[in-house]
Symmetry: D2
Amino acid sequence: MIKVGIVGGTGYTGVELLRLLARHPQVELSAITSRADAGTRVDAMFPSLRGYVNLSFAHPEQADLAGCDVVFFATPNGIAMQQTRSLLDAGVKVIDLAADFRIKDIATWEKWYGMTHACPELVGEAVYGLPEINRAAIKSARLIANPGCYPTAVQLGFLPLLEAGLVDASGLIADAKSGVSGAGRKAEIGTLLAEAADSFKAYGVPGHRHLPEIRQGLARVAGGDVGLTFVPHLTPMIRGIHATLYARIKTDADLQSLFEQRYAAEPFVDVLPAGSHPETRSVRGANTCRIAVHRPQGGDTVVVLSVIDNLVKGAAGQAVHNMNIMFGLPETTALEVVPLLP
Amino acid sequence: MIKVGIVGGTGYTGVELLRLLARHPQVELSAITSRADAGTRVDAMFPSLRGYVNLSFAHPEQADLAGCDVVFFATPNGIAMQQTRSLLDAGVKVIDLAADFRIKDIATWEKWYGMTHACPELVGEAVYGLPEINRAAIKSARLIANPGCYPTAVQLGFLPLLEAGLVDASGLIADAKSGVSGAGRKAEIGTLLAEAADSFKAYGVPGHRHLPEIRQGLARVAGGDVGLTFVPHLTPMIRGIHATLYARIKTDADLQSLFEQRYAAEPFVDVLPAGSHPETRSVRGANTCRIAVHRPQGGDTVVVLSVIDNLVKGAAGQAVHNMNIMFGLPETTALEVVPLLP
Amino acid sequence: MIKVGIVGGTGYTGVELLRLLARHPQVELSAITSRADAGTRVDAMFPSLRGYVNLSFAHPEQADLAGCDVVFFATPNGIAMQQTRSLLDAGVKVIDLAADFRIKDIATWEKWYGMTHACPELVGEAVYGLPEINRAAIKSARLIANPGCYPTAVQLGFLPLLEAGLVDASGLIADAKSGVSGAGRKAEIGTLLAEAADSFKAYGVPGHRHLPEIRQGLARVAGGDVGLTFVPHLTPMIRGIHATLYARIKTDADLQSLFEQRYAAEPFVDVLPAGSHPETRSVRGANTCRIAVHRPQGGDTVVVLSVIDNLVKGAAGQAVHNMNIMFGLPETTALEVVPLLP
Amino acid sequence: MIKVGIVGGTGYTGVELLRLLARHPQVELSAITSRADAGTRVDAMFPSLRGYVNLSFAHPEQADLAGCDVVFFATPNGIAMQQTRSLLDAGVKVIDLAADFRIKDIATWEKWYGMTHACPELVGEAVYGLPEINRAAIKSARLIANPGCYPTAVQLGFLPLLEAGLVDASGLIADAKSGVSGAGRKAEIGTLLAEAADSFKAYGVPGHRHLPEIRQGLARVAGGDVGLTFVPHLTPMIRGIHATLYARIKTDADLQSLFEQRYAAEPFVDVLPAGSHPETRSVRGANTCRIAVHRPQGGDTVVVLSVIDNLVKGAAGQAVHNMNIMFGLPETTALEVVPLLP
């Protein structure tokens, strides 16, 4: 059994890790921490876990994280970087669901996240945990930077086009829409039901933290800098991201077959039949990214529709997928959850 | 492997049966019918099932239902009663998720459902599939009348009080609230998002078909007629029923402990700690009924809060539970799905 | 023109007062205060008011409230009682939308609200601003205790029955459901969209602050103490309260006509035709209470359905109605807003 | 008083016309028709109108439409074109809220709408009722083609850029999101709450009927053909459209001031301060289009955010605006409705 610790288990990615790991046949949940809620039973805060998780939140200083095989950080940005060095030294693998290790260029990271990096020397070692690109490196990694939610949906949608060099990489557009859980389980006015329901808005148009992460990922597959306009929106639903991606085609190709072949062996990317429009609910609760590719009116603009559950493929599910790879387990272990529809 | 057939698989209870049965280790889905959508792949209609269900809808006349071990009817009322006789004769067990076999008194059934019963002689044989009351009879049944959604939530909430004879059974009140999926996957104006979202209403106050079903069930445990006022409401959510139950206490008792003891051995009824308020989302996607019992200000009115997922414990999950019992399987097989929260 | 001041204009009742008063032909909005947001333009916080409200929030100490004709308190409980004495002394009328002056019994108030009352001597003078009961007293009042949202919906529903002495006042049940805006514009986890959407729950079953307010009001019309069980619920919508009321009939009567006659002259209470089920959206944005009365299956239980918009008839609209009465204006001035449906 | 007739009053644009016209001081509602609901009181179908509309639906053949001064068609496509000729001949002005007269090229219209046009000779005369472009022509028009909802939001967003010739008109992108009421008040499975809530999807990517309408409008202001990719999405809310528009900048300019100056005199277009992100709820129920213009990271892509209420500025409100212009009334008559927020 893999002994698992979770740091910061009271947020949405935390409870989602618990939902998935509680049914993982190779996992023993051995510690879950919360500074504010130490002593509280996990299932008192999340009654959905009654009967599945028999733990209480532990104070971070008192949890035996060093005795775990792997520790997930489901914390705000800036926490994992404080503790990763000592965990790695103790032989513990680390999967950070926050952004501390995602951006290779330290200056860029520090500018967008507004803090000084606590362990820049580990950033180089960290493996960006998008299995569809980095499977081999993940297998042997000690430290995983689990991708952001928008970056997962956007990168998987652009990937085949950029790898094949078919589109003008200087004018990419990603118009992305997220459910409100993407903002986290934090007391804030903007995400109250009475504020965010029955309304729709863009936010962060001048610049969003996921922009440099997406740009870095796309540049890597494009083999050079990309020009990307990224506009995130808040949509009145709980879970789900829908990315609508636009690019100008340079070279003709059978786009449907390009996508199908690129992802044929991927257990968690599902290319829909030509002409489809994926709904976010079709992946609700599941670690799947569903993609459709269109070329409206046969013009030179390709439109890719990419949907994920932001808390699963965009966070906790992808983290478990990474863990499975790191520990040599079948990749789909504990992740064969049928989406909840309706 | 148990060969399973589903009649009428295009509604919400149908897709929910598929979600659960697709992961059932002892089940082989062998036929699913739909008159209107014969020939359509199931996962073309419900992309959430891609990779899990590799079937197309078959025309009812062409499906080999007689070759199944058990057939679920996920049809409108009045269909199962046409076909049950011949299936039983062919040695097939039948679980009807509609109302055809729920009411023992034929005249009452015909009045509330507005049609003549096609096989009144089978109504007596049919076992009302509420395992918390009828486990033994279910075990040996050929024909199960799977309870309605409201009746499940309301009966489980009143049960301990009536069995113990603690309350005045002549003045029971059940104020119940349902998500919109309870109305089924039918094209109707009243349940459009633009009609039913951001609004709340009661309906069926003069009389609702679940009233005689609940009354029959409560009368059985009370050992005599009960007086029940039942008011259903439509609430702007997809899934979930919340029943708020009121009764006048005749005899003092430790209500918390009464409920805990009554359901101690039940895998799918969860009595919450004293003072709790269950949320419907705490059972989203799961076959669980969570119950809290209150006695506000120590007065003589007991208030029971009972929540279920109307499509699971209120329909498809309970049906699978019944199947597990009928076939001697562990009762929780395929039903250990952690609720999806948030 | 009536010079109006609003204390605490950044909450939902504040913005709702602004929405209504901005179109009031006899009102000049002269000051609106907010400690936290002093200096911010009102329409920067609430862009819906662009073009209608040309004011900035003022610091409470700097606003000339004493120069107003009337001041509305749209503040948390416990603020109005600090400032009312001096405003009244300055000849300013006061309408408190919070609970400071609603409960006549000081000890009861202090118990439920957990603080010492700052001006108990004014509580006796304050007029409970439910025009359907207190019109004459409101006309000559200096100080109005504007009713709570639940108390408005519940009292208007029970009123005709209790005035006529037709029901057993010892066993009243009020099962009430509220949209999330009832919790106010406060950063709290429980009312986040990701927590409160697609879910339903009861809360405050052991006791809610509106219980003593409702009891006091009902006792007054019943001519003696009443027994009331009050269970509030949170429903996933923005606005609206639906109260489902239950009482045991003692004396037969034509209930439909009783309700119609009681409210025939009331501009803001609408008794629906027999057999109706009011939807909360039918009063969205309007100062109307719509009521239907039922007697299911001709039994001895009467069921009243009463809906209001919690922010209008349950708060700001009723406050403007009170102001209109106090200043001798036509009662419907600025309140003839057609509900927004869908 | 202007005598007004409404053909097809049972849909969302119909009830919205009634909401606005009921409070119009110069309007007398004299007839409203519905084939299916003839004889039904309008306020029985829409209780929100109780006290405001004292009419019953009339059979189309029995209503005295020829005696009206103006008739609104709030009908499905293909109805207005059958009746407009005779109404015009009778001296009645016509405002069609459907698409019959929007597209000047008859072949294009017939291709996208799948029917033969019944009065192609009137299409040339019809004035496209976007007051921000066509005010003068509207003033003297007999027949108005009221713009579609998406076309209104998209055109108003691109207009200043194209008029000024600042952007590459060959590569415009309009990523638009609509609330579900845009699909109309029709019994369809896809827009049920249980299907469309808590989910998000694109639709019509291969081609949507509003594409040729938008292209025609943009071409007119651009002075030549435009290349437009238009992707509509369904978002789980009742009302509102959010268009996110992308264009490549050819010539530098102060975009904020460009937009402010273009719309300075327009009563129903509100350019927000630089850096803003309009929410659809900020125009809920109002005839306003709010626009913000961004240039992320100072790059060469301009992003315009444009929001309207699809039923008001996108349909009924704009129709009333057109009527006001046609009859020489102050343009804002009956349209000064403060948006409902929250």
